[in-house]
């Protein structure tokens, strides 16, 4: 099943690659506050060699939702955002590492291999509400911890970066 999904994902990636110029035009330069700045080896940019995404741009991408508990919060919460898989597809990134950096310059490395269906996402809504900086917002990389013990590891916890504002794709 997973293999099958990967094949589909791969096929989609090729499709996206061929349509890059079109997609670049689809994500215009941000009108509101920039929530996420993506740099590095990416196939799509909108401001110089960066891809700057405001809330509208993020929400325009295919959204993913799941419910899970986290070790940092009480109870189960629902999260909505762009899955890492979708985001990497959009960026045309298929391999390498993403360096994710928070508002306070806390940075972690997330391998592109994490970008799989049912995997982690860049969440912008928690319990259908926007997240403030005080609530680990505005963006938080979360994984579906409850769905798989593999997501309840030290490494995954360390990749669950909150108050995210930058991504850099490196090889």
């Amino acid at each position: 099943m997973i293999k099958f999904l990967r094949t589909i994902a791969g096929a989609s990636a090729i499709l996206i690659l061929s349509a890059t110029p079109l997609l670049a035009q689809d994500i215009p330069a941000p009108q509101g506050d920039v929530l996420l700045t993506i740099t590095g080896n990416i196939q799509m940019t909108n401001v110089d060699d960066q891809l700057q995404l405001d809330r509208d741009a993020l929400m325009a991408l295919d959204a993913t939702t799941f419910e899970t508990s986290t070790i940092w919060t009480e109870g189960v919460h629902s999260f909505q955002g762009v899955s890492l898989a979708t985001l990497m597809e959009a960026l045309g990134v298929t391999e390498g590492t993403i360096i994710a950096t928070a508002i306070n310059d806390y940075a972690v490395e997330i391998p592109v291999s994490d970008a799989v269906e049912g995997g982690g996402m860049v969440a912008y809504l928690m319990d259908d509400a926007e997240m403030r900086v005080r609530d680990k917002g505005p963006l938080w990389v979360v994984y579906p911890y409850d769905s798989d013990p593999a997501y309840r590891t030290e490494v995954i916890y360390s990749r669950s970066i909150w108050q995210l504002d930058r991504l850099e794709a490196v090889n």
Partner: protein, 832 residues
């Protein structure tokens, strides 16, 4: 031993299984432990908590630094405040800090910081102008809480250090357990290895044992004197032992694989052998196998047949059922057995010859003795000087002793030849004992010995037993006691008592004689045993008297014994089963040698002149009239013309023997045709006696004739003569004698014939068609037959019919004939 090995193997298996389970358990336990450890390490629900706490202070200081900046960047200040706020929010909520929050100091500090945040938020959230005015206140708040932030970080460090210790200890404990479990595992494995080693040792030892057993078995089979042949289910030889090679003359090499039937079974048994093998193969039914030892015939390689003893057993092997036969050549044994049988037959024949020789010898000795003793008896009636009288007494004593010895030998011979017939008749015990005492009293008086007898317990005069044997035994015992006792006392005690099975007669003869030596006591009843030789010479004896007594008592199903102490006298006793009876008319009374007898007219037929004179003189001395005849023919002629009261008839005579003469007298119409005839003979073998009676004799007098015996016979005759004419149906004594001499089988046969003859006779007479002469002849013949059985009434009636027929007294005939059927019936009933 195999049992123990099996038990050990079973215990070993159990142990192995248990050890295996233990190992598996230990492995599972370890796997569980390790996986738990991995899970604990892997799913660290802790994040980097310490870093987070340290980060708290960093973020707080960052916020504080922005407060001091000049000019203050409000946006950055707000962002740094939010970052710190978020951090504190996380610490307050995150589950990873749950244990940390449980610490009182930590939670207090946390509350202080939250209060600080709550106080700062309105200021931070105010518009830029207000915020700038309130910056000093924010700074004051921040400075106020700074120690708390620091405490939080350090408190966290302490808690985590403690937790870390606990965790380390837990890990150490787990590792210890792991080590222990591993030791256990290694130990178990070690045990398993040891056990396997043991198993291997046992298996190898068992293999060795099996090899030794096989070698031993082969040796046993190889050295067995019995031939061992093993065949498969189809009868093909698969083993042929060295002994079998020797017995059958086949070599093992030649017969292996061949059919056993063709190799060792003789041709005439092969059919049965093949059928037996076929039956076992098809039905499994076994007739020979496992049935123990059998004797059969077998064949050697050279065709010789010989007897074998064999046992066959079957066993089931991997290749099917096999038969193991153990065979032994028993030709030598069979030959030896045949030889033994032949030897025994020869011995038996020799024994028979000896018995016949002894009987003949005793007869030959008794005949001349008869003459000697008879003449000495007569000599007493002549005038003798005192010396002559003394010499005569001595001669008589010696002569009688010699006669006793001959009689003893004859008795032994008779008993050992199995010719001793025991009778059971009613008899007067008191009279019998009294007679014995009387006959011995003069001898006792000569020795100065008192002789008496008495009853122990209530007298039981009439009993049923064999008076002749009893008299013989008691006479012997009393005679011995009197013989050996000088100046003493001999007492005879009789008692009849009931025991569990019936009545028993016990007679004890106690004397005050010299007694018996201990060694003699044990063998006093053996043949030819005598006591002190010198003393014996004085009293005499063959050493057969007690041996005969013992034989008689044994024949009567009784016991005989002796209690004795040397010098204290001895007590002989007999104990025999008897039956109490009440007196009845036919009972035998011991003949008393007293009373006067009316003079009789007697014919003595005897060829031996001496004997004839002896008898004549004895009879004449008693007052009888005697006519002599020198042979059977003379006797017969005299009997024809004169009616005698009694005829004494010798058996062996020239011209005509006594038996022929008797038959002719009985068959003829002479004057003495119905006279009582007594045989006078020294020949006393039973079968001959029977023949005499069949010839028509009425009794037997044994030579040498004594005055007492003659007197007794005459007294009986006298009684018969003087008895009233109302006849008894049966003269039971006569009948008993007949039965005695004939033997039961012959007697029964003759009785049946007599019954049938009499029936035919009665039918003939009743018919009345015959002429008087024929009727007389038939009645005469019938009377003769009746006489043989002692059927007195029948005989007398028939005699009357004969007389009536002869004299033409036809009026008397119908009445007499009419009485016959009843008499016939009664007689047959009495004879049964």
């Amino acid at each position: 031993m195999p049992d123990t090995a099996d038990q050990r193997a079973a215990a070993g298996r159990t142990f192995a299984v248990l050890a295996g389970l233990l190992v598996i358990g230990a492995i599972l336990f370890l796997a569980f432990n390790v996986s738990r450890e991995i899970r604990l390490l892997g799913s660290a629900n802790s994040d980097n908590v310490q870093w987070s706490l340290a980060q708290t202070e960093v973020e707080f200081l960052e916020y504080r630094r922005h407060l001091d900046a000049d000019p203050v960047n409000l946006s950055a200040l707000r962002r740094n405040f939010d970052v710190f706020y978020s951090r504190m929010d996380t610490i307050s909520q995150a589950s990873v800090f749950e244990t940390t929050r449980a610490d009182v100091g930590f939670s207090d500090t946390l509350r202080d910081i939250q209060l600080f945040l709550t106080a700062s938020v309105p200021i931070i959230d105010a518009d830029d102008a207000d915020l700038r005015l309130l910056l000093p206140e924010l700074a004051a708040l921040a400075d106020g809480i700074r120690p708390s932030v620091r405490d939080l970080a350090t408190a966290g460090l302490d808690i985590f250090a403690r937790e870390s210790d606990v965790r380390r200890e837990a890990v150490a404990r787990t590792m210890s357990q792991l080590a222990f479990a591993l030791s256990l595992l290694i130990g178990t494995l070690g045990l398993a290895i040891f056990y396997l080693y043991r198993l291997i040792a046992i298996v190898s030892r068992r293999e060795t044992q099996q090899k030794q057993t096989a070698v031993r078995l082969n040796t046993v089979i190889g050295t067995s004197l019995d031939g061992v042949i093993v065949s498969d289910a189809r009868g093909r030889i698969i083993e042929f032992s060295p002994a079998a090679e020797v017995i059958f003359g086949h070599s093992r090499h030649d017969v292996i694989g061949r059919d056993i039937g063709q190799v060792i079974v003789p041709p005439h048994l092969r059919g049965a052998h093949d059928a037996g093998m076929e039956r076992m193969r098809t039905t499994g039914e076994k007739h020979v196998v496992g049935k123990g030892r059998l004797k059969l015939e077998a064949q050697r390689a050279n065709g010789e047949l010989f007897p074998v003893e064999l046992a066959i057993q079957s066993a089931t092997t991997d290749t099917g059922e096999i038969y193991i036969a153990f065979l032994r050549d028993i030709s030598a044994r069979v030959a030896a057995e045949a030889e033994l049988v032949a030897a025994r037959d020869r011995a038996l024949a020799g024994e028979k010859l000896k018995t016949e020789f002894l009987a003949t010898m005793s007869h030959e000795i008794r005949t001349p003795l008869n003459g000697i003793l008879g003449n000495m008896d007569l000599l007493h009636n002549t005038t003798l000087t005192p010396d002559q009288a003394r010499y005569l007494r001595h001669m008589e004593t010696s002569g009688r002793l010699l006669l006793t010895h001959v009689s003893d030998v004859l008795d032994i011979t008779r008993y050992d030849a199995g010719k001793l017939n025991i009778q059971r008749v009613a008899m007067n015990l008191g009279d019998l004992v009294q007679d014995i005492i009387d006959s011995q009293s003069s001898m006792a008086a000569q020795n100065g010995t008192a002789l008496d007898w008495g009853w122990d317990g209530p007298p039981q005069v009439w009993v049923e037993s064999d008076p002749d044997r009893l008299q013989h035994v008691l006479m012997n015992l009393v005679g011995n006691a009197v013989k050996f006792t000088r100046q003493g006392k001999v007492s005879l005690t009789v008692s009849v008592r009931a025991d569990g099975q019936g009545d028993r007669l016990r007679v004890e003869i106690a004397d005050t004689g010299p007694g018996l030596a201990a060694d003699l006591k044990d063998r006093v009843f053996d043949d030819f045993v005598t006591g002190n030789t010198a003393y014996d010479r004085d009293v005499g004896g063959t050493g057969l008297g007690l041996a005969i007594a013992k034989r008689f008592v044994t024949a009567l199903d009784g016991q005989i014994g002796v209690n004795s102490e040397p010098g204290q006298g001895c007590t002989f006793w007999i104990d025999i089963p008897i039956k109490r009876v009440t007196r009845h008319a036919d009972a035998v009374e011991t003949v008393r040698s007293s009373g006067k007898i009316a003079p009789l007219d007697i014919l003595v037929v005897e060829d031996n002149e001496i004997n004839r004179i002896v008898v004549r003189d004895m009879l004449q001395a008693a007052g009888h009239r005697v006519t002599e005849a020198h042979d059977g023919q003379q006797g017969m002629i005299k009997a024809q013309s004169h009616a005698y009261d009694l005829i004494l008839m010798d058996i062996s005579m020239p011209v005509m023997d006594g038996r022929t003469a008797t038959r002719l007298i009985r068959a003829g119409q002479g004057a003495s045709a119905n006279t009582r005839i007594l045989a006078l003979t020294a020949n006393v073998l039973q079968d001959e006696r029977a023949a005499f009676l069949e010839d028509g004799m009425d009794g037997i007098l044994t030579k040498p004739l004594t005055q007492a015996a003659l007197h007794a016979a005459l007294a009986k005759e006298d009684r018969a003569q003087t008895a009233p004419r109302a006849f008894d149906v049966i003269d039971s004594q006569h009948n008993r004698e007949t039965r005695d001499v004939l033997g039961v089988d012959t007697y029964d046969m003759m009785r049946s014939r007599f019954d049938a003859d009499m029936g035919a006779l009665i039918a003939e007479l009743t018919d009345g068609a015959g002429d008087p002469a024929a009727m007389a002849a038939a009645a005469h013949k019938g009377a003769g037959s009746a006489a043989v059985f002692g059927a007195v009434a029948l005989r007398e009636t028939l005699k009357q019919i004969e007389t009536a027929a002869k004299s033409g007294d036809t009026d008397a005939l119908p009445g007499l004939i009419a009485a016959l059927p009843d008499l016939h019936r009664d007689t047959i009933a009495a004879l049964a």
